[in-house]
Amino acid sequence: MSETTRDQVQQSNGKIETSHHPEADSRRSDKNYYGIPPIKHAHWTWQIPVYFWIGGIGAGVHLFSTIAQILGHKDEALIRTSRYTVLGTMILSPVLLIWDLGRPERFYNMLRVLKLRSPMSTQSWSVFAFGNLSGLITARQAADDGLLGDDNPLVRLVKLIPARFLTILAMPVGLNVGSNTGNLISATSVPLWARNWLFMGPTFLASGLSTALSWLSLVLHLTRSGEEKTLHTLHRAEKATIVIEAGLIAASLIRMSKWSKPLFSREVAPLFVGGTLIGGILAPMALLFGKESRPKSILASVLALAGGLAFRFAIIKGGRISADDPEAYFTFASGESAPQPEDKV
């Protein structure tokens, strides 16, 4: 017995430490049951946050271009960029999602049933529907652009596609792709995500729109193809959206209260505080609210896009830390703080 241990024993009135129980053994700092997490974190790897980001861009781009078309704003470059972008995101999304499955060859089981209570199920169906609609719309665009050749039967067939009608039809589906990702993570037992069920979907949608507007603005600026009116509208929309996004993130943090701690941990803070709050919101905001200019717009777009990606990673990584923390889960699942069945919106 070492000197220190003997001192401890004497101080504790002859009580000899024989136990490894955390509460009795001062040498152990773990709480509850040996600090073993009572719930399991999601195994999701990088594909999922990247999908959240890409899917959000697709949803936001579609929202913007649809409203432009409804309002009769005819900018060929905008419509073309939007349609190809949405198709691109909807080709990449399923690839990323299937990649992350434990049994990728069974991906089609996702379309085996439709469960409105399971955001993963509605998400799969939305990506499926949005992707197919986007494929049809973009086929029409490709035919109009002459990519399918000149007058041949295929072109004549594709030109029958009612692109404008399908665009409007796809809008609610696309919006679901953008917001449902937030609802998907909040319908779990992870305190950081579940606590924020009210604002998670809206925050993801706003962030998706913000990155989408930045993407459009970036592409149109770099290719110097957008009309002056389009670029100006994008600029104004970007300003408004980034303010809404900032407000929703603030509301989320208030809602998460003490369970938001993982976002400020050493591992996630660079992504959340540095990448999202400063790099993805404050910096683009400062650039956007100054005098409008091409280089500043490009820089703001790049920052907002990177910030959106950092935000997705921060939320997923923060959720992992939150799930691994017994203290967080037990305080969350011990009464008033947990969402109760009788809670209303």
């Binding site: 129980h21 049951y33 195994h43 434990g102 955001p119 998400q123 069920w197 979907g201 959720g319």
Partner: protein, 278 residues
């Protein structure tokens, strides 16, 4: 007919026969031979390849044992004041608890499953169909008890099947069969509920007022998910056994979140439309 478990932790001796029987019958892979230092618990937790887990909880003595103590009285069911002010538990108590899938009445994993792989079978047990599961892993963070995980190299999610194959042949699950002290009881949920209530009453009568049933909508606080088909008789706070006090159904909030998202979509659409105005 709904079947389930009742695990009476007060008679568990921590022999781990249930863990071994489960692994053998269900042909589950080994988890390695690690010494954790967490008492004699080298299994640590439930997972896709561990469907029974015996927790070892050391409750050390709170007070020093003094005076002329009748050790025979200590070992028996005696709670009256002992000589020297010693308490029955003054020697320290070792609690064991064989944890298992709770087979929730409103199972969050089942509601989360997008493929319909997780079903309720004819015994009203929550069952993962291995031929349908595509390993999306969404049931893993949905489970409020951390029961399910994905098995590496297989990719699919697994958990206790309540020995569906044995039940089909009229046998009780392997863990219940192997349990030497009948700490693990298998049967109809309603019957087990009566047994649990009687046992808790018996414990209360002997002076163990802290005994209670975990896993009913009334006691143990599993109101959000409608109770469990795997119930436990516990003697301490749920957190001591790594169990949540008030687990809830995560999917309760899907509707609210969707409505909030619709509102957000409308607002953002309006903002974009306004941006087009000169």
């Amino acid at each position: 007919m709904a079947t389930g478990f009742l695990t009476d932790t007060t008679v568990c001796i921590g022999c781990k026969a249930c863990e071994v029987a489960c692994k053998q019958w269900n042909q589950l892979p080994a988890d390695g031979y690690e010494l954790t230092g967490d008492s004699y618990d080298n299994t640590r937790q439930l997972s896709g390849s561990t469907w029974r887990h015996v927790a070892f909880i050391e409750n050390p003595k709170k007070r020093r044992l003094t005076g002329d103590v009748d050790l025979v009285a200590l070992a028996e069911d005696v709670t009256e004041p002992l000589p020297g002010g010693a308490e029955l538990d003054a020697l320290g108590r070792w609690a064991f608890m064989s944890d298992v899938c709770k087979h929730c009445v409103e199972a969050p994993c089942q509601q989360a499953c997008p493929t319909g792989a997780i079903i309720r079978n004819e015994f009203d047990n929550v069952y993962i169909q291995p031929d349908v599961c595509n390993g999306c892993g969404y049931c893993v963070p949905a489970c409020p008890y951390g029961v399910i995980t994905q098995v590496p190299h297989d990719g699919r999610a697994f958990k206790c099947t309540l020995c569906y194959d044995r039940q089909r042949d009229g046998l009780e699950p392997a863990c219940a069969k192997a349990c030497p002290t009948n700490s693990i009881m298998f049967g109809e949920v309603e019957e087990l509920k009566t047994i649990a209530e009687e046992r808790v009453q018996e414990l209360h009568d002997k002076g163990y007022s802290q005994a209670y049933v975990y896993g009913t909508p009334e006691v143990g606080g599993t109101g959000g998910i409608g109770g469990n088909h795997s119930k436990f008789i516990l003697m301490d706070e749920p957190e001591t056994y790594n169990l949540p006090r008030h687990p809830y159904l995560p999917q309760e909030k899907v509707k609210g979140g969707t409505i909030a998202s619709m509102v957000a979509g409308a607002v953002l659409g309006a903002v974009v439309a306004l941006a087009f105005r000169d």
